[in-house]
């Protein structure tokens, strides 16, 4: 009877009491078969998996288990309590390999801190669901290879804090989630920290990457040779680049926030390289070195994005045939740099550096806004002169230089007002500290003036 209960498939066992019973049942089996230790400290989970029937739902009681695990038939492996089931692995292979279709794994904590080439989890089956896993790795976190239609939901992947793992350079680290030849997967609500690429997709089409939180890695989301990827509502902070989209078609990038990608000399919020027919809409790019960088990309549509307080708002290099409308540039050091980018349709954006005139009162300026290509051209020939970025003399020179203006990247009818007022920065301090500092300065100089004028008499 207990055996039947344990093997009951589906989600009928969900619930604390039943899960507990399943746990007790499993320990009982272990005792009866003399193959698995009764104590949770070192039972062989693999044996349980091997004994389970297709479609079984195994609930694992809390405790520490040794890897590796290999799953070759459809079943569900569910931690009794999320995060309380620890799978430890110290070998050179994968800590968990899923070869079968329709496998679900939920709530495990996987610690796999050996620096190695094999990933912590390798999935080759289709329709695999990995959810609420915590993965501490010194390799790739989750690899999907030829795995279709899976779902990765609410997992946490972080790089190991062990000395050997910390000694690894950023470029040699593993990716958080790594897809190759894997299509139609949903990757949602994951958190990834301190990895190489947060989510890496190569030759993998029509995947959906939504609501993930990607930080302190090289690239947050990285697409190579993908078609129809949808990148929606993700947050990236402190990566070298928030989203790197290269050699792609028909990617949609909507509602993401990429902030503070500014430490590296190649940092940007969002990069499009050889990307075509991309839709980039309603993203917020804040405090990055470059908000959006577009190179050799065409037929992309950029609309309703907000570039706030970046060093450079947008950079267009040899990019043609793109459409930019309804975007806003506010508080950037330089709104835009452009080189060799003609035939783009740019209109109706808000540039806070632009002083427009609106005679007919339609809300759009009658004076166009053109991006001066002088500095861009100079540093292309002499990158060392990047030192002069926004220096007073350079700005002066740019004002003088007006040659060949019709070939500049130009917004024909910029917006007169921003579309929405910017919200107040949540981590902004109240100004009282500066108020006090200012008062101290004023009081100090006041006393000085008084003394100097009095003592001279």
């Amino acid at each position: 009877m207990t055996r039947a209960m344990q093997r009951r498939s589906g989600r009928t066992l969900k619930g604390g009491v039943l899960a507990l019973m399943a746990g007790v049942a499993m320990l009982w089996i272990a005792g009866a078969n003399h193959q698995v230790e009764a104590s949770a400290s070192s039972p062989s989970l693999q044996t349980l998996i091997d004994q389970a029937a297709v479609g079984d739902r195994l609930t694992i009681p809390e405790g520490t288990y040794e890897g590796p695990l290999v799953i070759t038939k459809p079943l569900a492996l569910i931690a009794d309590q999320t995060g309380e089931v620890l799978l430890k692995y110290t070998g050179e292979g994968q800590a968990l390999r899923i070869e079968a279709d329709g496998v679900a794994v939920d709530g495990l904590r996987i610690v796999d801190e050996t620096v190695k080439n094999e990933p912590t989890i390798l999935v080759t089956g289709d329709q695999v669901q990995l959810s609420h896993l915590t993965i501490i790795t010194a390799a790739d976190g989750i690899q999907l290879r030829g795995a279709q239609g899976g779902e990765l939901r609410g997992n946490l992947v972080v790089w190991s804090s062990q000395a050997a793992a910390q000694a690894v350079r950023l470029a040699a680290k593993g990716n958080g989630i790594d897809l190759y030849d894997s299509h139609d997967n949903l990757i949602t609500g994951n958190r990834i920290r301190d990895m190489h690429d947060g989510i890496y997709l190569e030759n993998s089409d029509h995947n959906e990457v939504t609501d993930n939180d990607l930080a302190d890695s090289r690239y947050g989301v990285h697409c190579m040779y993908t078609v129809g990827t949808r990148i929606l509502g993700n947050r990236g902070e402190g990566n070298v680049t928030g989203a790197m989209v290269m050699n792609t078609r028909e990617v949609e990038i909507t509602g993401n926030t990429f902030a503070k990608q500014n430490e590296n000399v190649n940092s940007q919020g969002l990069l499009l390289f050889d990307a075509h027919a991309t839709l980039v809409r309603d993203n917020q790019l804040e405090g990055n070195r470059v908000g959006i960088y577009v190179e050799q990309s065409s037929d992309n549509q950029l609309e309703g994005n907000r570039m706030l307080d970046n060093f450079i708002g947008i950079q267009l290099i040899s990019a043609s045939g793109n459409t930019l409308t309804g975007n806003q540039w506010i508080g950037n050091m330089a709104d835009a740099q452009a080189r060799g980018s003609v035939d783009n349709t740019i209109s109706g954006n808000y540039w806070d550096a632009h002083r427009g005139v609106d005679i007919d009162g339609d809300g759009y300026s009658d004076i166009s806004y053109a991006v001066n290509p002088l500095f861009s051209g100079i540093v292309q020939r002499r990158p060392q002169l990047q030192l002069l970025f926004q220096s007073p003399g350079m700005l002066f020179l740019e004002d003088l230089y007006q040659a060949d203006r019709q070939s500049w990247t130009t917004d024909a009818s910029p917006l007169m007002r921003p579309l929405d007022m910017r919200e107040t920065d949540p981590d902004r301090q109240s100004g009282w500290l500066v108020g006090v500092a200012g008062s101290v300065l004023l009081a100090g100089t006041g006393i000085l003036y008084y003394l100097a004028r009095r003592r001279g008499t």
Binding site: N262, F311, I312, P383, L387, L442, R453
Partner: protein, 273 residues
């Protein structure tokens, strides 16, 4: 030492009674406040458009102001005959120059402190204002610019025969250091072989106090990455506390060399009557 202090105190007293000092103070304060007004919504933090505007306008105004105040103070001594009188006392030229520098530095820093103080209080009252670290860095920026250009102004005041000459030289130096710098660099470095460009830019930057200070503050504001891969090592170094010490050392060297040169010229002139 006591001579230096006496001279410095006299300089402070004179400086703070000088209508020039007050007109500059009014100008600087007005200009800090107008920057806040332009940016009534915003909040000054990190390396953004607002901070950049502020940096650039300070670079425009302060060096010129400093060069004029400093050099006029020296030529004034000669034109008014004070120096002739002072020469008959047993005051060493060194002490005198050091005293002048110290006194003028106090006056200039007071002007800057007034401007920043007003802007800080006004920003706080209007609910916009500054992030504390950015405020501090801008203050350091203005202070360093003033101290460095004050040292240059001593040389100008020494070489110029009267106020008019001093004015001409001050404007010329200001123009080259602030506005003409970029065109000059671009023109000269365009002629150099590629490999020489970076060492040349680095060396020339050390020679221009305005650029030196601006770049130091840009890096400290966390925007070193905008300077590009060529300066990666420099930027990393400047971001550390050692970078601050390095900047302080280079500035001190600048000040000592300029003030030393100026003292040497005065001494030569004094001994030759």
């Amino acid at each position: 030492m006591s001579h230096t202090l006496q001279i410095a105190l006299r300089e402070v007293r004179m400086g703070l009674r000088n209508p020039w000092a007050y007109s500059f103070m009014a100008l600087f304060a007005l200009f800090m406040l107008s920057l806040l007004l332009i940016q009534s919504q915003g909040y000054v933090q990190g390396y953004t458009g607002v901070t950049g505007t502020m940096l650039n306008l300070i670079v425009y105004l302060l060096p010129l102001m400093t060069l004029m105040l400093g050099s006029f103070s020296l030529t004034g001594e000669r034109e008014d005959g004070n120096w002739e009188l002072l020469s008959s006392y047993p005051v060493r030229t060194w002490s005198w120059i050091a005293g002048k520098y110290g006194g003028l530095a106090v006056v200039l820093l007071a002007i800057i402190a007034t401007g920043f103080g007003l802007a800080g209080v006004a920003g706080w009252l209007t609910g916009g204002g500054f992030d504390l670290q950015t405020y501090g860095l801008l203050l350091v920026f203005a202070g360093s610019l003033a101290l460095l250009f004050l040292a240059v102004s001593l040389v100008v005041g020494t070489l110029a025969r009267n106020r008019w000459q001093a004015l001409t030289m001050a404007v010329a130096i200001w123009f080259f250091a602030v506005i003409g710098w970029a065109p000059l660099l671009i023109a000269v470095l365009g002629l150099l072989p590629y490999l020489w460009v970076k060492p040349a830019v680095t060396a020339l930057t050390l020679l221009n106090p305005a650029e030196l200070t601006r770049l130091f503050v840009v890096v400290k504001l966390g925007a070193g990455s905008i300077l590009g891969p060529e300066y990666y090592a420099w930027v990393r170094w400047i971001r550390q506390p050692a970078g601050t010490l390095g900047f302080a050392a280079v500035s001190a060297l600048w000040i000592v060399l300029s003030a030393g040169a100026s003292a040497w010229f005065w001494e030569r002139r004094r001994s030759r009557g």
